[in-house]
């Protein structure tokens, strides 16, 4: 393999990987505060892209993206307030089915609002054929935008959890909900916040990836499966592990095309998910003892 081809695969892998990682982190944030997997996570990504595309008709691109992210955060909050908050000690299964229902609802609504066609935001820099050279590989500048924005998001999130009061409160909920309540933290508000946060990062990822992958009303499902794989692979609950797992999965997918036919790309990630579920259900980086204490 030449260096050029190697770096081409590498960059493609990082691009897929970081997108999967963001979706995986979205899963983790909500999992940490509620103990459930929010299967509507992929829909937040789709909504981010779609709303930004619609907004871009009237607003300049940066404002359209900001507006889209804020709107999707609002939608995330609404989803939580309308469907989750008023439930009195719901079972894990019930909450999961509710989120699946929400994802179908959002998808159908998107189909009615935006139709079945693919749409996309314009490239942030240049156009469809602009390329930059990195390590001999040629990539679209948009790839750098995706990698850059997602990296900043990951760093900002880790700082948020480490150094801000809200972030620490959320972590407290994740560690022990009862104890957090006893300390005077409103776990219900933390759950709303976690939905807003994961909706927001999903929406932003949806905007930066839109020029590369296009946005269609049904892209959410595929992303949710990949994001879920990543979250499980890294070990549920840990955002940094999701990043590592996301990059790993992305790289495996992109390098796999050099040895096996492209058609097996998705089969690889699904078999990986199954293997992890069988062999290391607590994930690559997760702690077995900690996982045993969790409900799900």
């Amino acid at each position: 393999m030449t260096l050029e081809l190697f770096s081409q695969y590498l960059l493609a892998g990082i691009t897929y990987g970081i997108i999967y990682a963001i979706v995986g982190i979205g899963f983790n944030i909500i999992y940490n505060t509620t103990g459930i997997i929010n299967f509507a996570q992929g829909e937040f990504v789709m909504l981010g892209g779609m709303i930004a595309i619609s907004m871009h008709q009237w607003l300049p691109l940066p404002l359209a993206i900001v507006a889209a992210v804020l709107l999707v955060m609002l939608i995330g909050a609404l989803v939580e307030i309308l469907f989750i908050r008023w439930l009195d000690r719901p079972s894990v299964l019930r909450m999961i089915i509710i989120t699946i229902g929400i994802s179908i609802l959002v998808r159908e609504a998107a189909l009615h609002i935006w139709g079945e066609g693919v749409r996309s935001l314009p490239y942030f820099v240049g156009n469809e054929i602009t390329t930059v050279r990195i390590l001999g590989a040629r990539v679209s500048p948009q790839v750098l935008w995706v990698i850059g924005v997602c990296t900043v998001m990951v760093l900002a999130l880790s700082l948020f959890f480490k150094y801000t009061l809200q972030g620490k409160k959320m972590q407290a909920c994740a560690a022990n909900r009862v104890a957090a309540t006893l300390c005077g933290i409103s776990t219900k508000n933390m759950v709303t916040l976690s939905f807003m946060l994961s909706a927001g990062i999903g929406a932003l990822a949806g905007c930066v990836m839109s020029p590369i992958t296009y946005t269609q009303y049904d892209i959410g499902t595929g992303l949710a499966i990949k994001g879920f794989t990543v979250a499980i692979l890294g070990g549920l609950g840990s955002s940094m592990a999701a990043v590592a797992a996301g990059l790993l999965l992305g790289l495996i997918e992109s390098f796999s095309v050099s040895v096996v036919p492209l058609a097996f790309q998705d089969a690889i990630s699904i078999s990986l998910l199954l293997a992890i579920l069988f062999l290391r259900p607590h994930g690559l980086f997760g702690n077995k003892d900690a996982a045993d204490l969790k409900e799900f």
Binding site: A12, G117, E128, I129, Y214, Q216, G222
Partner: protein, 382 residues
């Protein structure tokens, strides 16, 4: 006493049902299975809109010989399993007169036998040659056959002195049938297929595979065979990778939305299609000119979006069926015979001449090569 009351009720109900069914005899029920949503929605959505428009137009004029048309459109989402259950439902429960669709080859091939067994006319809007070869008594199709389309591509390649190609195809019935045709015809045409890759129909990024193919310097051109947005993604990824070989697409590219989606990366792509996309640029004496201009104008004024060849396939299917019903009356068997013997029908895809051995009826001249220039479709000239 009680028994006679029951008997009366049953008789009443029966006579009521009879009178209802007699009232229904005025309308002809036509089923349609189209991929209005999902990855093949670029095909199914314009197809559904087209037949809705045509049925409305026809019913406003009083229908066919006083019989109104009632459409029963089912959205298969491009899913062959759904197409199977809808086909059974339309034939057994709705007892439709004929079925238009499905939009994709994979779905059509799955329901070919079902329609044959149910003795229901199927007018497919999909491309694969296997739909009409071997001939099934009740199954017809309106788009050009993929064998003709591949032939047209290879002729253009020969003219351009291209002999070594890479093939990309999606993992759908359409992609696989096209790939099969390419592999079958390549040796006869002196074309060497150096690499073949199949991708998922929902693929969102193909840069890794493009990088792999681009590393093979012997490849002189790429043929991509799909109907999904992936056709636009291939174009972008190849050009971004600085790979400037000519890219040939299938007739699945015949929707201007793909050109919009790929932007400048679509410039210069070469693909075979019917003449609908260049209707306004045809010479006035061209036999299809009037049909094409009317259809594109009607469609574009009604739906505020550009007409595509796919809507055209549904147009042809609907019009052929109506013409046959006009000639033979509302009798399934006679209508089937009328379609099989129809000659010189001018449609959007070409001039149809059906025969007992040819249930497609289009000749090689129905395919023309197009290219993209300045974001528009124009006829390709070497």
């Amino acid at each position: 006493m009680k028994r006679s009351v029951t008997a009366t009720i049953i008789m009443l109900a029966a006579s009521l049902a009879l009178s209802v069914s007699m009232a229904c005899a005025e309308t002809i029920k036509i089923g349609a299975i189209l991929a209005m949503t999902g990855p093949a929605s670029f095909l199914g959505a314009p197809e559904a809109r087209t037949i809705e428009m045509l049925a409305e137009e026809l019913n406003a004029k009083g229908g066919i010989g006083g019989n109104k048309i009632e459409l029963v459109i089912k959205d298969s989402g491009g899913n062959p399993e759904k197409a199977i259950s809808f086909a059974k439902q339309l034939i057994e429960e709705e007892k439709v007169f004929a079925i238009i669709g499905p939009s994709t080859s994979g779905e059509t091939l799955k329901i070919k036998q079902i329609c044959e067994d149910g003795k229901t006319i199927l007018l497919s809007c999909a491309a694969a040659e296997q739909i009409v070869n071997p001939v099934a008594k009740y199954v017809f199709k309106t788009p050009q056959k993929d064998s003709q389309v591949v032939h047209a591509i290879f002729e253009t390649m020969k003219a351009n002195k291209i002999s070594k190609v890479a093939v990309l195809a999606s993992n759908t019935g359409f992609g696989q049938a096209g790939k099969g045709q390419i592999e079958k015809q390549a040796p006869e045409s002196g074309i060497q297929v150096l690499a073949t890759e199949v991708y998922d129909s929902k693929a969102t990024d193909l840069s890794a595979i493009v990088a792999k193919l681009a590393a093979n310097k012997e490849i002189q051109a790429v043929i991509n065979w799909s109907i999904e947005p992936a056709q636009a993604i291939v174009l972008k990824n190849a050009r971004q990778a600085g790979w400037n070989v000519p890219i040939y697409q299938s007739h699945g590219f015949g929707n201007i939305k793909y050109v919009e989606a790929a932007g400048v990366a679509a410039e210069g792509v070469i693909f075979p299609a019917g003449r609908l996309l260049i209707a306004d640029k045809l010479a006035d004496k061209h036999p299809q000119k009037a049909v094409l201009v009317k259809y594109t104008k009607d469609y574009e004024t009604k739906f505020k979006e550009e007409a595509s060849t796919f809507g055209g396939h549904a147009y042809d299917a609907f019009k052929i069926l109506c013409r046959a019903i006009e000639q033979a009356g509302a009798n399934k068997e006679k209508v089937r015979d009328a379609i099989e013997n129809m000659k010189g029908f001018v449609g959007t895809a070409g001039v149809f001449n059906f025969s007992p051995t040819d249930h497609n009826g289009l000749g090689q001249d129905s395919v023309t090569m197009l290219t993209v220039k300045g974001g528009n479709f124009i006829e390709y000239k070497k």
